[in-house]
């Protein structure tokens, strides 16, 4: 099933790599990824889509929340908001 995640990320050296690396290391294929500025220059918004089942989605949300640079992870469609 296709899922779209919205991730607020602190603009630190290597932060984007750590998000992408987490998905790769845990075996999730990112279909699309967009990085955009927010009103706060220290914060970026990642919009990311991937294919996975619901169990895997729960796990990847929890693992993403363990990244220190991640401020918030939301799944707008499911309202599985952080």
């Amino acid at each position: 099933m296709n899922h779209t995640l919205s991730i607020l990320l602190q603009n630190e050296a290597g932060a984007l790599v750590r998000v992408a690396g987490l998905f790769a290391a845990r075996g999730y294929n990112i279909d699309t990824l967009t990085v955009a500025a927010t009103h706060d220059p220290a914060v970026s918004r990642l919009t990311l889509s991937l294919q996975c089942d619901d169990d895997a989605l729960g796990q990847i949300l929890q693992q993403t929340r363990k990244l220190v640079d991640v401020l918030q992870v939301a799944h707008p469609a499911n309202a599985l908001a952080a």
């Binding site: 607020l8 602190q10 630190e12 050296a13 290597g14 790599v17 750590r18 690396g21 290391a25 729960g58 796990q59 929890q62 693992q63 929340r65 363990k66 220190v68 640079d69 991640v70 401020l71 918030q72």
Partner: protein, 597 residues
């Protein structure tokens, strides 16, 4: 104050007693600052307040810091240079991440202007470590250095502990800064999530639900992992067991979290767990998992783990571990010590006392019938007998480290574990070469304790350069090499699953004279034990020696690790070998290819 001096000041403020590291061009300013700090703050007896212990290889420094952290519960600190210094540190960082061990690793980096230019001794450490550390900082803004180093300590020890890497370019080390003495990075996301977890409490409804299931259970079991030790929850676990009478089995990382000599202790479970622990898991109808994560060495087939359990409960500090491998009926994410204290208080206040007489009798019978055993009549030295002999002296009070493989499992099975932080082993990563440097770090943490490295011939060779570190620092370490002339665990798998084709596992280690090697590195007591009848007296002499001692024991090369739950097998299919009673004749292991490992 220079950036390098700021780093050392923060380290001193954090109460660090010892650091481990190897020098090099890109970290020289910090090394110089350490030298000057120690000279200016020398103690009355002339000793250094923060000695910097030098290994043979940076990997050794990482495992020394990890051994220090595991034995003390404090953050281990390592300082290395850029490029190869930092890449040699990758293995201990990943090892510490996998076992949730708090480390702060300071790496030198080439100057900010040279980053990305393929400079001498440059490596993309923030990329490399980002994939295996709890967090990595690349400090590009010198004004953030002080807060960053301080934050690294907070990150390493908070929540689920782990290694934090701070990559510091040389120009940042040389920058002129003013020391503030306080202040950390905001990290709003991390801190908000940490606060939520740390403040989580069990409601009355949570307690009601757990006890309702527990009071219905006839055969409840506690499955305790490394989280019991990380959370300093061993006493709270003891009180919970005293109140409600649940037997306890521990994971490899959980050994010491519950006194293994207790009548209700089932010792180790899993792939090489005791037969009685694994049968108890088969028989139980209720599981309380405490700081344990159903990993593949415990629940190789998650669907068949504890197949009769009607209720599985889990407490962990990490929300991502709940239901990751096995779905549970009840869970709590929060500090384990407080959760256990709350449950004990609730159960006592409501006079809840499970009636477990029949289950206790069953457990005692499992322990009697399926006790650990081996070929006691063999003319060859049995490794189990060596561990038992050492254990008679140590009695659960020595700190024991290991390499990885058969000797590690024998040590886990045959030692008594009576208190936390006495068992140092690379549980998740399974890193050969861990034992010797970890023991060195542990001896710096517990200078008056007996520290024993139980190692294998192949494992110790991986970091054998650290033998000289032991004698350089005059550590009274006791090092045991159980020598079976090759990779014993690999051979055991090749016998079972590859029709005895010993690919690469019997090629080397035939020429090595370990006793000569130890003598060359300054060991005055270095002996080889080859006869069974000298076992007791040699071990007594070895452990009594006042100083570094090295004992090589030539063991039965065919000694195996039993019981064994094969890859992809359930506990019911456990092989117990020729000397441990099995409940049923297990099916002979299939020699077919398995994707499990």
């Amino acid at each position: 104050m220079s950036g390098a001096e700021v780093i050392v000041q923060v380290i001193a403020h954090e109460g660090v007693e010892v650091m481990f590291g190897y020098s090099g061009g890109a970290i020289l300013p910090v090394y110089d600052a350490v030298f000057r700090y120690n000279a200016e703050h020398a103690r009355a007896d002339g000793s250094e307040p923060i000695p910097l212990v030098v290994p043979a290889n940076e990997q050794g420094a990482g495992f020394m810091a990890a051994g220090y952290a595991r034995a003390s519960g404090k953050v281990g600190v390592a300082i290395v240079t850029s490029g190869p210094g930092a890449t040699n540190m990758v293995t201990p960082v990943r090892d510490s991440m996998a076992d949730s061990i708090p480390l702060v690793v300071i790496c030198g980096q080439v100057g900010t202007a040279a980053i990305g230019s393929d400079a001498f001794q440059e490596a993309p450490i923030s990329n490399i470590m980002g994939a295996c550390a709890k967090h990595v900082f690349l400090v590009t803004d010198a004004t953030q250095l002080e807060a960053t180093v301080r934050t690294a300590f907070t990150l390493a020890r908070s929540g689920r502990p782990g290694p934090v890497v701070v990559d510091v370019p040389k120009d940042v080390q040389n920058a002129a800064l003013s020391f503030r003495g306080a202040g950390e990075l905001a990290l709003n996301g991390y801190r908000a999530r940490l606060r939520a977890v740390e403040q989580a409490t069990l409601s009355d409804a949570d307690c009601v639900a757990l006890f309702a299931a527990l009071m219905q259970a006839e055969r409840p079991l506690i499955y305790a992992g490394g989280g019991v030790i990380a959370a300093d929850a061993a006493q709270a676990l003891r009180a919970f067991v005293d109140a409600f009478g649940l037997p306890v089995t521990t994971t490899l990382m959980g050994l010491g979290g519950f006194d293994s000599t207790d009548p209700l202790a089932l010792h180790l479970l899993g792939m090489h767990g005791t037969a009685y622990a694994n049968y108890a898991v088969e028989d139980c109808d209720f599981v309380l998992a405490l700081g344990a994560r159903f990993d593949d060495r415990v629940a190789g087939v998650p669907g068949k783990f504890a197949p009769r359990a009607k209720f599985i409960a889990q407490v962990d500090i990490d929300p991502a571990e709940i239901g990751k491998v096995k779905s549970v009926d009840w869970h709590h994410v929060g500090p384990l010590k407080r959760a256990l204290e709350r449950l004990t208080a609730y159960g006592r206040a409501h006079e809840l006392r499970p009636q477990l007489g029949a289950w206790h009798a069953h457990v005692a019978e499992l322990k009697r019938v399926h006790a650990m055993n081996y070929d006691r009549a063999s003319a060859l030295i049995q490794p189990y007998a060596v561990i038992e002999a050492i254990n008679r002296h140590a009695q659960g009070r020595a700190i024991v480290s290991t390499g990885v493989g058969q000797h590690q499992m024998w040590a886990a099975q045959y030692f008594d574990f009576r208190a936390p932080r006495h068992w140092l082993t690379s549980g998740s990563m399974g890193t050969m070469g861990f034992g010797l440097p970890a023991a060195i770090g542990a001896q710096f943490a517990q200078r008056d304790k007996l520290v024993i490295d139980i190692d294998g011939d192949a494992s110790i060779r991986m970091n054998i350069g650290e033998l000289e570190t032991v004698t350089t620092y005059g550590l009274p370490l006791k090092i045991v090499v159980l020598n079976n002339v090759g990779d014993g665990m690999v051979r055991q798998w090749q016998k079972l699953y590859f029709k005895g084709r010993f690919a690469a596992s019997d090629k080397s280690l035939h020429k090595k004279d370990f006793v000569l090697a130890a003598r060359a590195d300054g060991f005055d007591w270095a002996r080889r034990l080859e006869r069974n009848d000298a076992l007791e007296s040699t071990i007594a002499d070895f452990l009594a020696f006042d100083g570094p001692a090295f004992l090589e024991v030539m063991i039965d090369p065919d000694a195996g690790v039993y019981p064994m739950v094969g890859p992809g097998a359930s506990y019911a299919q456990m092989i117990t070998g020729d000397f441990i009673a099995s409940r049923a004749m297990p099916v002979a292991p299939e020699a077919t290819t398995t994707h499990m490992f």
